[in-house]
């Protein structure tokens, strides 16, 4: 039975008809020898032709000017009988050399880039050119890019090994803008810098807003743009003349009905959370005006620890569905 298999197996040329051939490591010295018995130890049956003889490696038949991207078209593990390089890798024994490539696990462990030779990359780029558009010719310098597109958005996508593509860190969005590219006068710029606090860097004149409160990246992007809009408009808003100057005051407003117009307006804005009913409501500063807070002139900012402490001290009655802290 073994003899019947032998010629059929020998006639199987590597890489000809099979989709994948094994990488068979044959040390060069064994080619000169006659086929030796198997290592299973059948020395007594040496007159029988060996059942499993390895073919010579493919490296001996390779032309020097072959098309390498067709040998390694995709990322694949290292195959010593296919790579015609005498590489050695491994921690050598004392007075020894690193191990040869045949049966070398170290070469298997490391990721190889044999499929990304310059020729292969050029071929990929040629194939991808049909799907690309030209860079706009008018944007030929960094200053022009900054002038026309002053707002920079940074997002990150994460790839990890495993069946899941979800990564909670991918929802963070960072918005950067130079204040010099915004239309701000002296008072507006100072007020904006005071409002944002640590998010402004004086040396580079860059305002950085990092949002990751919402579960989706798109929502965080919308929230960041909303914050920028509100900050800009609020920094232009001025206190009417004659109004009392107060550093920090507390205005408490209790909403009897959770469905009143004020509460509904607040909860329809992004990033809102109502304390009592579980919907969203931010604590926001507003300017002292008669009649309570004006929705169009409010800025959304979370309470600072000091303000939260004042709120707990006063212990307002009723259902605290909203509270407001004013500044300036």
């Amino acid at each position: 039975m073994a003899a019947a298999f032998f010629p059929a197996w020998l006639s199987l040329q590597p890489g000809a008809r099979t989709l994948r051939a094994f990488s068979t490591a044959v040390p060069p010295t064994s080619l000169a020898r006659t086929p030796s018995p198997r290592t299973t130890g059948r020395m007594s049956k040496s007159e029988r032709p060996p059942r499993r003889k390895a073919l010579p490696p493919r490296t001996e038949k390779m032309a020097v000017d072959q098309d390498w991207p067709s040998v390694y078209p995709v990322a694949a593990p290292f195959k010593p009988s296919v790579v015609p390089l005498p590489v050695r890798m491994g921690y050598p024994v004392k007075m020894g050399v690193p191990m040869a490539k045949e049966g070398n696990l170290e070469l298997l462990k490391i990721p190889n880039f044999l499929h990304l030779t310059p020729v292969a990359i050029k071929k990929h780029c040629e194939a991808l050119k049909d799907f690309c558009t030209e860079w706009p010719a008018a944007l030929d310098s960094d200053e022009k890019c900054e002038k026309h597109f002053p707002v920079e958005i940074d997002t990150a996508d994460y790839v990890s090994s495993g069946p899941s593509v979800r990564n909670p860190r991918a929802r963070a969005v960072t918005l950067r803008v130079k204040l010099s590219s915004l239309n701000l006068d002296d008072h507006a710029k100072k007020k904006l810098i005071k409002l944002v606090g640590e998010r402004y860097c004086k040396t580079t004149d860059v305002l950085t807003i990092k949002t990751d409160r919402c579960p989706l990246k798109r929502q965080n992007y919308d929230y960041a743009m909303y914050l920028l809009t509100v900050l800009y408009h609020e920094s232009w808003a001025t206190r009417p003349k004659g109004a009392p100057q107060s550093r920090v005051g507390l205005f408490y407003q209790s909403c009897r009905s959770p469905h009143s117009t004020k509460s509904m307006w607040l909860s329809s804005s992004p990033g809102c959370r109502d304390l009592h009913s579980g919907k969203a409501a931010w604590f926001f500063p507003f300017t002292w005006e008669r009649g309570g807070p004006h929705p169009a002139k409010t800025t959304w900012l979370p309470l600072s620890p000091h303000q939260e402490g004042v709120l707990t001290l006063l212990k307002p009655r009723g259902s605290p569905s909203m509270a407001a802290v004013c500044d300036f």
Binding site: W9, Y91, L105, S160, S161, G162, S164
Partner: protein, 152 residues
């Protein structure tokens, strides 16, 4: 040398905690013999010091998720391959993950005829892909005998 039960130890029979004799680490080390024991390159000692890890995945990196699930899958894959290729594996498996797919690189001895190897490869790939719900590829490299690194 202070060892348990020696005279002069503070508590005879108790484990020796003197700083003079460090505890012997026995995990993942091949016991040194008389010089006739052949060892392959990938005995687990010196992993990450002189040798790369046998299993490449992003869970090994700092702060990455799902490390435990991938590790459990790796243990299962190693056991499965050990049983599917009985007596044929020449060394430890190398498992590489690239995004969703897993590549199992194995060194095998030439114990079986080629058509049996092909069947086992297809069988492993199909079954493991269904078990782990991700594409699996098995890459075999045949060697005539176990590649000996040194004799200890």
């Amino acid at each position: 040398m202070c060892f348990p039960g020696a005279t002069g130890c503070p508590v005879p029979g108790a484990p020796c905690t003197s700083p003079l004799c460090a505890p012997r680490i026995g995990a993942a080390r091949v016991r040194v013999g008389k010089g006739e024991k052949p060892v392959t390159y990938d005995e687990p000692h010196h992993i990450a010091h002189r040798k790369s890890c046998l299993s490449l995945r992003t869970g090994n990196l700092d702060g990455q998720d799902h490390a435990a699930e991938r590790m459990v899958e790796d243990v299962f894959l190693r056991k499965f391959m050990l049983g599917t290729f009985p007596g044929c594996l020449a060394d430890h498996l190398v498992l590489k993950r690239r995004a969703n797919q897993v590549e199992i690189c194995a060194l095998v001895l030439r114990q079986l005829p080629a058509h049996k190897f092909y069947f086992l490869v297809g069988y492993s790939e199909t079954l493991l892909s269904h078990f782990c719900k991700c594409p699996m590829r098995v890459h075999l490299q045949t060697v005539p005998s176990k590649v000996v690194y040194k004799h200890i």
